[in-house]
């Protein structure tokens, strides 16, 4: 009965929207005009400009000269720093993103059930994410992982010999990876929100069928959480690919270029040497690589990301 009346009340609205296609074309554009102007002038146009620059030898001092594919050719064939920084960045992304997500997922699972004290834990674990992007934390990190730093004192307490973590070329990148993993709190909060949406009756039903905890995790939790995992993975890759402040402040790209990541190389080419043309090519290569990574993750998603609407009993939302 109730359903019938609500259907009846929808019909006139439908008819109206067929007759008159847009209520407010002018007002609509007025309201979105700040974004539209911003998008055209500060996103779309600069992107085209940057594409154009990438085919020139533009610097701020000289007139622009078209050089065709020269920049790209030089980058790919003759630029050692490009190859090296790209390798380092891949290493950084491949190490920091999975470690961060595993830590976030693990703690989110623990927190899901610990009712008592949850807000204290959540606060403590989220706090590093809150302050992590600041230059202040980079400075703290530089000190903690120095030769005389706090980390070596802790190691010394357990009798493990330390090293100058940020000054040793073998470990410097790992101190930056550590800084990134330390900030797993915001991913954890997102996982926690995802976990709360999994209906409890799924667990109850499977418990009746005698499923073990481990089986529940792989057959219920992980599939139901996969859209959240997918989102965290994509955003994690995009953000960590662009890591700049820690490398700039903690190590300055050193020692022996062991933390000279892509964003830092791009920055120095553009703003220390003012080679805006060449660095625009670097930026476009970066964009292409990030888009490629996102597309690849997206292509694999049909094998592991589970959407509720696909399941037979799903309510389809």
């Amino acid at each position: 009965m109730e359903r019938a009346t609500s259907l009846a009340s929808e019909i006139p609205v439908r008819k109206k929207s067929f007759r008159k296609r847009w209520d407010s074309p002018l007002a609509g554009y007025l309201f979105i005009s700040p974004w539209l102007i911003g998008f055209l002038a500060l996103t779309a146009y600069p992107m085209l400009l940057s594409l154009y620059y990438s085919f020139t030898n533009y610097t701020l001092m000289k007139p622009i000269e078209w050089v065709g594919l020269d920049n790209y050719e030089r980058i790919i064939t003759a630029d050692d720093k490009f190859a090296q920084s790209l390798k380092l960045t891949f290493y950084y992304v491949l190490a920091s993103v999975p470690l961060k997500l595993i830590a976030a997922l693990m703690v989110a699972l623990l927190l899901k059930k610990a009712v008592r004290g949850i807000s204290v834990y959540r606060t403590a674990i989220y706090f590093p994410s809150l302050i992590g992007a600041s230059i202040a934390v980079s400075l703290l990190w530089k000190n903690i992982f120095g030769v005389d730093g706090f980390f070596n004192q802790v190691l010394g307490f357990f009798g493990i010999p330390g090293t100058g973590w940020v000054t040793n070329p073998d470990t410097a990148l790992w101190s930056l990876i550590g800084l990134s993993v330390w900030q797993f709190g915001s991913s954890m909060v997102i996982f926690l929100a995802g976990l709360k949406q999994i209906p409890n009756d799924l667990y109850e039903a499977s418990a009746v069928d005698g499923a073990s905890k481990l089986k529940q995790f792989f057959k219920i939790t992980l599939p139901m959480l996969s859209p959240t995992l997918f989102f965290n993975l994509i955003m994690g890759v995009i953000n960590s690919f662009q890591m700049f402040t820690p490398a700039y402040v903690i190590t300055g790209g050193g020692p022996m270029n062991s933390t000279y990541v892509y964003a830092l190389y791009l920055y120095e080419r553009a703003f220390s040497r003012y080679q805006l043309g060449y660095s625009s090519s670097l930026a476009w290569i970066m964009l292409i690589l990030i888009v490629a990574a996102a597309v690849i993750i997206n292509l694999t998603s049909k094998y592991w990301v589970f959407y509720e609407s696909e399941s037979q009993g799903g309510k389809g939302k």
């Binding site: 600069p46 606060t123 403590a124 600041s134 330390w182």
Partner: protein, 281 residues
């Protein structure tokens, strides 16, 4: 049965261990900011004699300026940015969520696409543009993009507000429309007051991301009298070369205080903001 009793114990111990790992560096930081340089390499958390002078000397460590100047600069910049962000993002979000106009879906999907756009593709052409306009070494490269619903997080905020407005019952605007209210009237008198909680979330994240927008500040602000706190910290770090770690750590610690206070007093907005839209936090 015994396993059931032990489970919470193990869970809480793991959680406590994790929480300690997360917070311990910060506790150490507090102690270290009160240490002399010699004491920094000693294992104790707190110094034998707290060096409060680290804070006083640190505050004056940039010749000719004090950190008061840098904090005022930063607050001035961020206040301007927040005001224009709230105005522009609410207008745009209202337009997308409530008005019906040609190509709305197309523009909105473009907006969603720019959420994922790596910012570093834009810094070079934007720098070249702003350089031409003569905006380098002013705050305009921050204020103008935010006034156009862009800048650090602008598109995120539009998305967040659109989600929120969609949750406000349409009957409210319908009845206002019957009473002869204009679209702007509906936006200003009906939707705006109801949007308050999500506007608080926008303000918080706008504050945080601009406070931490180190690369942006580094690019566009050159003269010390316009320096933000982050740039001042970097300047001390570069000029002292680690000679006065106590002072540097003290000033760094003060610089995270605004974000920390904001977090303490507005925790619920944080968690909601991060959880509902997956903000990078």
């Amino acid at each position: 049965m015994t396993r059931r009793k032990w489970n919470p114990v193990i869970r809480h111990s793991v959680l406590i261990m994790f929480s300690l790992i997360m917070v311990y560096p910060v506790i150490w930081w507090i102690g270290a900011s009160l240490k002399t340089n010699q004491e920094l390499s000693s294992p104790s958390i707190f110094p034998s004699v707290p060096q409060w002078s680290n804070y006083i000397n640190g505050w004056h460590s940039v010749p000719g300026f004090t950190f008061t100047d840098f904090y005022l600069n930063t607050f001035y910049l961020i206040t301007a940015v927040i005001i224009v962000t709230v105005i522009s993002c609410t207008l745009v979000a209202f337009g997308f969520a409530r008005l019906d106009f040609p190509l709305r879906g197309f523009w909105f999907s473009l907006l969603m696409l720019t959420l994922m756009l790596p910012g570093q593709v834009l810094i070079i052409p934007q720098y070249a543009m702003f350089h031409q306009f003569g905006w380098v070494n002013t705050y305009l490269p921050f204020i103008v993009p935010h006034a156009l619903a862009g800048g650090a997080g602008g598109t995120f905020f539009v998305f967040l507000l659109v989600q929120f407005i969609r949750g406000i019952p349409r009957e409210l605007d319908e009845s206002a429309k019957i009473d002869g209210c204009s679209w702007f009237g509906i936006y200003w008198r009906i939707v705006m007051p109801l949007m308050k909680p999500s506007i608080v979330t926008v303000i918080i994240f706008c504050f945080l991301w601009n406070w931490d927008d180190f690369l942006g500040h580094l690019l566009y602000i050159n003269s010390v009298d316009k320096y933000t706190v982050g740039l001042a910290l970097r300047m001390i770090n570069d000029s002292q070369g680690g000679a006065e770690w106590g002072q540097l750590l003290a000033m760094s610690l003060v610089s995270i205080l605004p974000a920390t206070l904001l977090f303490i007093f507005a925790q619920k907005y944080f968690v909601e903001g991060v959880a509902t839209t997956g903000l990078k936090g």
